[in-house]
Symmetry: C2
Subunit: 388 residues, 2 copies
């Protein structure tokens, strides 16, 4: 292999087109465009005109067998990610799958099982927000125990505003059969990943999901989920695509501190000088009054750090591409191993399942039951074949 990874881009839509541009412009120094596949003749013409000399395919399998690429990135509807990942890996081609890793855990587990048989190959997922310095820092703070064990986390992430025209732009969008869901499978996978990456994987979830609530779509445009990590530790997650003045507020309360993130930009980290229970045990009602009336010197109890981050959206994606290429070239650890992709899919599936059943669902839910209910929706919709 050369010193640069030759990437095969499957799908020259919004994401694939952006990655091609980043690579062509040198934003990913250890990667070159090896080939491009698109099923749409217009996109293939565009590819040939924009990237002269780059082989263009109509069929990704032909590209995999063409010998011009070392790796692929799967910029196609979510359902296709697992099978394309497996097809690449089975030909000893490294695979970077777009998020989400798939639509249902059963297919993602198959991808993960297959990838585990090819440990010599790189298998990554495009969780570009893991490359956001803010979230990297938060993960460090939590893992270092700087705020103690987590008591509760709450994320309201409604900055995913999408007008009706967005939904009308592609036939597969916001369908059960073509996309497999709405905000949970398209926009929120980033936060479903980050949340679990930083706060851990919950044991169960109860969710209220509003389908076609304020958009003319079959799938969900609003979600409210409560998760349970066991031992009284809980969390909430609220997301929507119809909030034009979106909120992005993430709060993590720990046994010895707290983190509040506003707008994915500013993190206010409070570190208590002692565990909160120790402080609590030594204080009484007069201290509450002093706290309320501003007479308690909070510096005696805690420190506050405000961290400002300025993350450029494109740089995150380019960074993941570069990290993936580095993993291929010299084994640099992956920021987002492909096998992590199943966590976000599992939580999204559990949220759908909870709303369909009207009850709390364990994260160890029956995958076949989920798929069967998903297929009920696909059948009723009548636009796409059922999934197996």
């Amino acid at each position: 292999m050369s010193t640069k990874v030759r990437i095969g881009i499957i799908g020259l839509g919004q994401q694939g087109g952006m990655y091609a541009k980043f690579i062509a412009e040198g934003m990913v120094p250890n990667m070159v465009i090896g080939a491009i596949t698109d099923t749409d003749p217009a996109k293939r013409e565009l590819a040939a005109a924009t990237y002269p000399g780059v082989p263009v395919y109509a069929d990704y399998l032909a590209m995999l067998d063409g010998g011009e690429i070392d790796a692929v990135v799967t910029c196609v509807p979510h359902y296709l990610h697992p099978e394309m990942g497996i097809a690449a890996l089975s030909r000893d081609i490294h695979a970077l799958v777009e998020k989400p890793a798939g639509v249902y855990t059963k297919q993602v587990a198959e991808l993960n099982r297959y990838a585990a048989t090819k440990p010599e190959l790189s298998f990554g997922i495009m969780f570009n927000q893991r490359n956001n310095p803010l979230y990297k820092r938060l993960k460090e703070i939590v893992e270092n125990g700087e705020i103690g064990a987590i008591r509760r986390s709450n994320w309201v992430i409604t900055t995913w505003w999408r007008p009706q025209g967005y939904y009308n732009s592609s036939a597969w969008r916001a369908t059960w059969g073509g996309e497999g869901g709405g905000v949970l499978v398209n926009q929120a996978p980033h936060q479903l990943d980050l949340w679990q990456w930083i706060c851990g994987v919950p044991k169960s979830v109860y969710a209220k999901v509003s389908y076609g609530f304020r958009r003319d779509i079959a799938v969900e445009d609003e979600v409210t989920a409560v998760v349970d990590y066991g031992n009284g530790v809980t969390g909430t997650f609220v997301t929507a695509t119809h909030d034009m003045i979106g909120t992005d507020r993430f709060e993590i309360l720990g046994d010895q501190g707290k983190i509040v993130v506003e707008g994915s930009k500013t993190a206010t980290v409070t570190r208590l000088r002692k565990p909160e229970r120790e402080l609590s045990d030594s204080m009484g009602m007069e201290d509450v009054m002093r706290l309320f009336t501003g007479q308690l010197n909070m510096d005696d109890y805690l420190t506050t750090e405000v961290i400002e981050f300025d993350s450029v959206w494109g740089a995150q994606h380019a960074g993941v591409l570069e990290n993936f290429a580095a993993n291929v070239l010299d084994g640099t650890p992956l920021l987002a191993p492909g096998s992590d992709g199943i966590n976000g899919v599992r939580l999204a599936n559990a949220i759908h399942l909870s709303s369909w059943k009207g009850q709390e669902v364990g994260l160890d839910f029956d995958e076949d039951e989920f798929l069967s209910l998903l297929n009920d929706h696909i059948r009723t919709e009548g636009k796409y074949p059922e999934r197996a």
Copy 2:
């Protein structure tokens, strides 16, 4: 009756003591202290020494029959509010009950039914935060339809920090038999009232409640509730008493705008120039890109108003006392009619019931079932008699 209402204060503890002070200092111009009752001899000595000339009783019924008062305020453990309210009203004495109106809806409904037979008497509840100019303004904005129909509301209110010493300060505190619950019945009733006052009464609730989570108490010190108003409209409510760096963030999303309240002080009100769905229907993916890259001129779509409020805590209580006295004297409408008290109790009961049953509970839950389960907790605790 004179031009001032003679109030009988039942219980000279924290709240009763504060009201006595406010009245004695002239903060409630249309009210005087008529008499004081406390079962604790030390408190009676304190009352006699602090308010010379004011009759002091050991038994509130004797005070009711003493002829020195026109009205009472019930500053006693929550369970006692309904029976004391009824005892006063039955003697044609006006009643201002402390919040919560009671511990379980069955007893509060009895109070409400009795009060309805005495429409000539004033019957109020101490929801002092309804007298906070911020929440009064929010209610107006929502009722005027300035942000359209509500889509979702989320309140994280964890500024109710209470150290262990607070819980240890009275034997009845944080017990099932003496207090009837934790943060839901003691601290959060204000927000349970304001939330429903502004956003309406939900149809059902699902809750995760952590009992004795980070305090040595039998009752709840943390609550996460998801409510459903029907037709896809939802809300969340998170409260706790163990967050030293408490959050108070209330967000209401409407069909034509949004309100975000921070710290019960700053309200950011966004009003869309058209209903969001109309805007959505005329926009496409290119507008999303323009929005993300800051190229969309938001002034074309909305206005933003930031309202700062500075509400003095004591002034709220004094204002409710004054409003109640005005209702007695000249029929000025009550800010907080006593009959409204049942809403907060009902939601708190439903939250407990949901957590005990591990399922979603309608707000029309079976009151007898709730009381029976509450009595199970009282029996297990073994400190107080069961309730009927």
